[in-house]
């Protein structure tokens, strides 16, 4: 388990950066969905993976679509997107999707759009580049989540609660950016560089 933690100042900078990146993602999602959409101001938390698993335990949904996408570079890790059944059905309705496969493809696309645009922008703000792997999706009951060993590989998680608001319906989801110690150290460095430049 990692001992690296972010200071309050570092967290503030990260929050700012995430806000910028998130704004960018909102616009892209709106374009993708070809509709007016707004994303609520994100609530961003940074926590240890163990805390995240505890938090997942507290969620009382029957099943969620869970998609992940790995990214590589100086800042590397895996982003994950949770979307509950009801929100997924709303997405299907909006995009006039007919089959389950189309729906899953659309969720992957949404994952890709949200996490790529967020992570790319975040990387850009910190003067680096990231490359994305293909996303993958599974539909799993939450109580099996802590059996997902890949989660335990990571030490820190940036959690972004998000809500896409359409004119007539809502799509709720949660984005997690999971990172390992090496990347957190790099991130900490970059955040400090930005902090110094601001002084």
């Amino acid at each position: 388990m990692s001992n690296i933690t972010l200071t309050e100042d570092e967290k503030d900078v990260l929050q700012e950066l995430m806000n910028v990146a998130y704004g960018n993602a909102t616009a892209i999602v709106a374009d993708m969905l070809d509709a007016f959409a707004s994303l609520s101001i994100p609530n961003i938390k940074i926590m240890q993976t163990a805390e995240l698993l505890n938090e997942l335990h507290d969620l009382k949904g029957d099943s969620y679509f869970f998609s992940t996408q790995a990214f590589a570079g100086e800042f590397s890790g895996e982003s994950a997107f949770f979307i509950d059944n009801e929100s997924a059905q709303n997405l299907a309705l909006h995009l006039e999707l007919e089959t389950d496969e189309d729906l899953q493809d659309a969720i992957l696309e949404l994952t890709n759009v949200l996490t790529s645009s967020l992570t790319t922008r975040l990387a850009k703000e910190m003067n680096t580049e990231v490359k994305f792997s293909l996303p993958s999706i599974s539909k799993i009951p939450l109580n099996e989540m802590d059996q997902n060993d890949s989660f335990k590989e990571y030490s820190q998680v940036i959690v972004i609660d998000t809500q896409l608001n359409f004119e007539d319906q809502k799509i709720n989801g949660e984005i997690f950016i999971l990172t390992k110690d090496g990347s957190i150290e790099w991130l900490k460095n970059q955040l400090n560089n930005i902090l110094e430049a601001m002084m």
């Binding site: 496969e101 189309d102 992957l108 994305f132 999706i137």
Partner: protein
């Protein structure tokens, strides 16, 4: 120098073009409206379409399976984000319908593809579709998934079976030091102890109060020899109730065949034991009541010979007083008395033999069985004018426990005689016959003493059921059925029609009694 010239050569040639031509991926360049601008060699080979034939055509017109709306959305998003969007083989399966002919890929008709939609030229609004063959990976993945499913199913089955065993099988495991390592729920539920209070306790210490020393030594001997042992023992529940267990000690080994302890499986035989004790008690009671009945039969049987002796003695006495007693009369009287006394003695012998514990199989003629049965009832039948008819082949032999069969027949005959007493009429008849088939010997006893109503007939073999107005213990037929079916391994049935009742005993020819 050589290195430098190679580098110069590579720079003077279009490396990218060469690589793209030989790369093991499909590459298509499209604009936002899905028109094809580039179609590489890999695709020409796999789709059997030449680049010249598809250029400037819309991809969803060349491949009609493609959903143009979705693809346009992905292109637009990729260009907007400046990062790729994707199709995945696991979800979309394939974008281009490329047929595959590999034998080992049995499940798929078309190549499974991952497709990356890469922003290629933002100004010209072009994207490159990179198509990767994922058939083998997807196939392996599917096989893996189906095997995972099988393993999960098996696992679920195992868990269920384990739960059933835990719930139903009274089991405990001990290690080589006799410390209890595991107990089933059935065990703790039966004895009313907490699992925690039993685990890590010494088995013999736990059982010290109820286990006889000899049994403990026997178990320990089998433990040393690592042999299976079946034993009966009493255990006490947490409430102090006695439970009778039939246990089996089985040595336990781990995967490397190393001896790690013993499993003790047990069966709760408390109820069976109680039933057995109850039956034994009933049989004892029935013997006592049979003895009483037989004594009254002997009294009947003796009345006539005793009066014969009495008459002879009186005659002798009168003749002596009148002084007309002749020697030949004395001799004939002695002989007559001797015969009669011998008959009386035989009756007593029969009675005594009958109550001897004799569990040995004997081969006897069937008519002898009936003779012995009738000895005690004959005079009663005469008194009540019951016509007795017997149809038994003199050569018919039976291997049986003689006393038990005689007791049963007496009981049945006596029931008929009693029925006639309660329901007398002019043509009272008792018929017995016996015959053999290939596998069994049948005895039929029939009376015309009025019959038995159907609802009563169903209950006659129940213990303590009696229709007799007095002195009926209600054990007679229940005991008869127990003897015939459990001791002699035969069958006893009763039918009643009109005013007749027929009792049928079927006995196996090759009898192995318990």
């Amino acid at each position: 120098m050589a290195e430098k010239s190679t580098q110069q050569y590579l720079r003077s040639n279009d490396v990218n073009e060469k690589l793209i031509a030989s790369i093991d991926n499909g590459i298509i360049i499209l604009d936002e409206e899905l028109s094809i601008f580039y179609y590489n060699k890999w695709l020409e080979i796999h789709t059997q379409l030449k680049e010249v034939d598809v250029l400037n055509h819309k991809i969803d017109e060349v491949f009609t399976n493609i959903n143009g709306k979705t693809l346009k959305r992905k292109i637009k998003t990729a260009l907007r984000m400046e990062t790729p969007t994707f199709y995945t083989a696991t979800i979309t399966k394939y974008l281009l319908p490329i047929k595959i002919n590999q034998l080992k890929i049995s499940g798929f008709k078309h190549m499974r593809q991952d497709v990356s939609v890469i922003p290629f030229d933002k100004e010209k609004r072009l994207v490159a579709l990179i198509i990767t063959d994922q058939t083998n990976v997807t196939n392996t993945n599917n096989l893996l998934q189906s095997n995972i499913k099988k393993v999960q199913d098996l696992n679920n089955e195992l868990i269920k079976e384990r739960e059933t065993i835990d719930e139903r099988v009274i089991l405990l495991k001990i290690d080589t030091n006799n410390l209890i390592t595991q107990t089933s729920r059935a065990y703790t539920d039966l004895l009313g102890f907490d699992k925690e209070s039993i685990i890590n306790n010494d088995y013999f210490y736990l059982e010290r109060l109820q286990m006889p020393v000899a049994l403990k030594e026997e178990i320990q001997k089998h433990q040393r020899e690592k042999k299976v042992l079946k034993f009966e023992k009493v255990s006490l529940t947490s409430e102090g109730k006695e439970i009778c267990l039939l246990s089996t000690l089985v040595p336990q080994y781990n995967q490397s065949a190393q001896h790690i302890g013993f499993i003790i499986f047990s069966e709760n035989i408390t109820n069976a034991k109680l039933l057995q004790e109850h039956q034994e008690k009933l049989l004892r009671n029935s013997r006592a009541s049979a003895m009483g009945e037989m004594i009254s039969m002997i009294a009947h049987q003796w009345r006539q010979p005793l009066s014969v002796i009495n008459t002879i003695i009186a005659t002798l006495k009168i003749k002596k007083e009148l002084d007309i007693l002749e020697d030949h009369l004395i001799t004939s009287s002695y002989n007559r008395i001797e015969e009669t006394v011998s008959f009386l003695s035989e009756t007593i012998d029969d009675f005594r033999n009958f109550f001897k514990e004799n569990k040995e199989l004997k081969r006897v003629p069937m008519h002898i069985i009936f003779e012995k049965s009738n000895n005690l009832l004959r005079s009663e039948m005469e008194i009540y004018s019951i016509l007795y008819e017997e149809d038994i082949d003199e050569k018919l032999l039976i291997t049986t426990l003689q006393n038990e069969l005689v007791q049963t027949i007496i009981n049945i005959l006596k029931n008929s005689v009693d029925a006639f007493k309660e329901n007398p009429h002019d043509a009272q008849k008792l018929t017995v016959k016996s015959y053999e088939s290939q596998t069994c010997i049948t005895i039929e006893i029939e009376d015309n003493a009025g019959g038995i109503p159907k609802d009563i007939l169903q209950k006659v073999f129940e213990p303590y059921f009696s229709t007799k107005s007095k002195n009926g213990t209600g054990l007679g037929l229940y005991v008869c059925k127990t003897i015939i079916e459990e001791h002699l391994k035969g069958q006893l049935t009763m039918r009643s029609r009109d005013n007749k009742t027929k009792t049928i005993i079927e006995l196996p020819k090759n009898v192995v009694v318990s």
